[in-house]
Symmetry: C2
Subunit: 335 residues, 2 copies
């Protein structure tokens, strides 16, 4: 498949670097201010050598690192290049979910596929996206938006949403790292947050992670998958956005609560839960050595099924290559 | 899809009972001595009522329970019925893997699909099966042969076998139940085996489970998936059979070994491991509260990837509805 990768952060760059290994070709890459487009697909010549028509992955990544741009073309050139699949890997935005939403719908209007790593459009405008898919020969996939390398969405799809009663889990590695360290070292939130920021595990402004917003967006996406997937008629499906989620973060979890929990063989995890009717994210007591008590930046997704009991999937919930591998798995499913 | 279900044990019966919920129709069912075939598809009229053309699931299950047969037709009638997918759910046999192997190849010769719950053909004759698929418009799927409800095969396929370096895990619930009880109660193997037999967790002849054969067959299947999936040319792929597996069971694990392990924060699990080059099953020390130390009859599969770290999937590794749900997931993937 010929890919146009929009967004050149950690995930976008990893998709550019790994696509060839999965048998795909990157024909265009854009960040917010620049682009590179392979020869014959709309603009600047690729540097791939031999008979490759794709862009040169190493050159793109090097330009981004050295000059802060991916190439000398305009982002618009990448969006209008001749690709099979648009990979939307720009940062998640809330509300109208722009510019990601328009990138995806422009691909669908051209009957091309879109694979999203950007949570905004699937969490905030799922109904609009489904409508755009209905009018297109293209499809959308978004495994990378939930739990990084963990195949949460495709496993729910394979089981079939009508046979899944709930999905819950630990869906934010930063919050989980902080809770794990607080419990292990008996330290307070502020102390561990500072440590996590030093290690690069937490952002300078950690609110998206520690207030539960990121986990809530993932649960909203799962709720949309469950609701639309189980409805006989999409018009009957309930659409979820972040506003429908009941969210509490971990800022107010005192070290004393973790010590008290430990005395009872328990610990605290930020648990998100989605059904076709509700979305909730909150710190909750879980057994200390239980399935949900994954450590550090690990994520876990627990799928409750009607006929096959409970399925648990744990793994790396974030990271460039991990998330890119989910993107490229989605591309493979579109073939 | 119209299904012909061959084999009326726990898995076959559950497929018959659940197929309708997944939007499929059972048009024929056979056990080793009898069959029922829906009206218009080759033989005896179905009892589905209204405009259904499928067999009546409840009637099939009731006949099997009361009279030991699924109907008054000949098994041959079910095999030659007009179905889209043949579900092979007869007991696993080794060596020539008959009669399962012929059931599957007869479906492929008619350009129909086959979904296997029977491990024999995929473990013992994978090369022959691949050749039959190459000559057919039909496909085969076999998620149910490895780990019951756990989507081991499809997750490896989605990651792509060339990006999976190894798959390991706990793949036999009976052996795991025995080791879990031995460790928890400080009892010896013979004592716990008798208890497991009373509970119906172990068979009267437990050798298939406790000697590691069942886990080895699952690992052989995974090795075939890895080897054939990663090969550019199937002719270059190494084919595995049970003979290629290095297998030790749990009969000789003394209670004292579990006590010694516990003093060091460890326990013993029967771990199977497959790569594209080796298959090994043996009792191994694992951390007592670690990911691989699942309890009781739970199974776990750990997938080592090139780019996305380690993925762990745990759940129910056996059971009629659990395994039937894997079969019906495969049927869904064939649509």
């Amino acid at each position: 498949m010929r890919l146009a990768v929009i967004g050149a952060g950690a995930v976008g760059r990893s998709v550019v670097e790994l696509a060839g290994e999965y048998g795909h070709e990157v024909v265009a890459v854009a960040d917010s201010s620049s682009a590179t487009v392979a020869d014959g697909t709309g603009g600047r010549a690729g540097a791939g050598g031999d008979d490759s028509v794709g862009v040169d992955p190493d050159a793109v990544v090097a330009r981004k690192a050295e000059r802060g741009i991916v190439g000398d073309a305009d982002p618009e050139d990448a969006l209008s290049a001749d690709y099979d699949v648009l990979v939307e890997a720009t940062p998640t935005t809330l509300g109208d979910a722009e510019p990601g939403f328009s990138h995806v719908t422009r691909a669908l209007e051209r009957d091309r596929h879109a694979v999203l790593a950007n949570k905004g459009p699937v969490a905030e405008r799922f109904g609009d996206l489904r409508a755009a898919v209905d009018d297109s020969d293209g499809e959308i996939r978004f495994e990378a938006t939930v739990g990084g390398a963990i195949p949460a969405v495709s496993t729910v799809e394979d089981i079939e949403p009508g046979h899944v009663t709930a999905v819950r889990g630990v869906l934010n590695g930063t919050a989980n790292f902080i809770l794990t360290r607080m419990a292990a070292e008996g330290l307070d939130y502020d102390h561990v947050l500072a440590e996590a920021q030093d290690l690069g595990v937490a952002e300078a402004d950690p609110s998206f992670d520690v207030d539960g917003t990121d986990a809530a967006l993932k649960c909203v996406i799962l709720a949309n998958v469950l609701s639309f997937g189980a409805a006989d008629d999409p018009a009957d499906a309930r659409e979820f956005t972040l506003d429908d989620a009941d969210v509490s973060g971990i800022r107010d979890v005192p070290g004393s609560a973790l010590r008290l929990a430990a005395e009872d063989g328990r610990t605290v995890r930020l648990i998100g839960e989605a059904t076709g009717e509700t979305v909730r994210v909150a710190p909750r007591l879980v057994p200390e050595n239980g399935t949900l008590a994954v450590s550090g930046t690990q994520n876990i997704v627990q799928i409750e099924t009607s006929h096959a009991g409970r399925l648990n999937i744990s793994g790396r919930g974030a990271g460039g290559p991990e998330t890119a591998s989910a993107v490229l798995g989605d591309v493979g499913r579109l073939e």
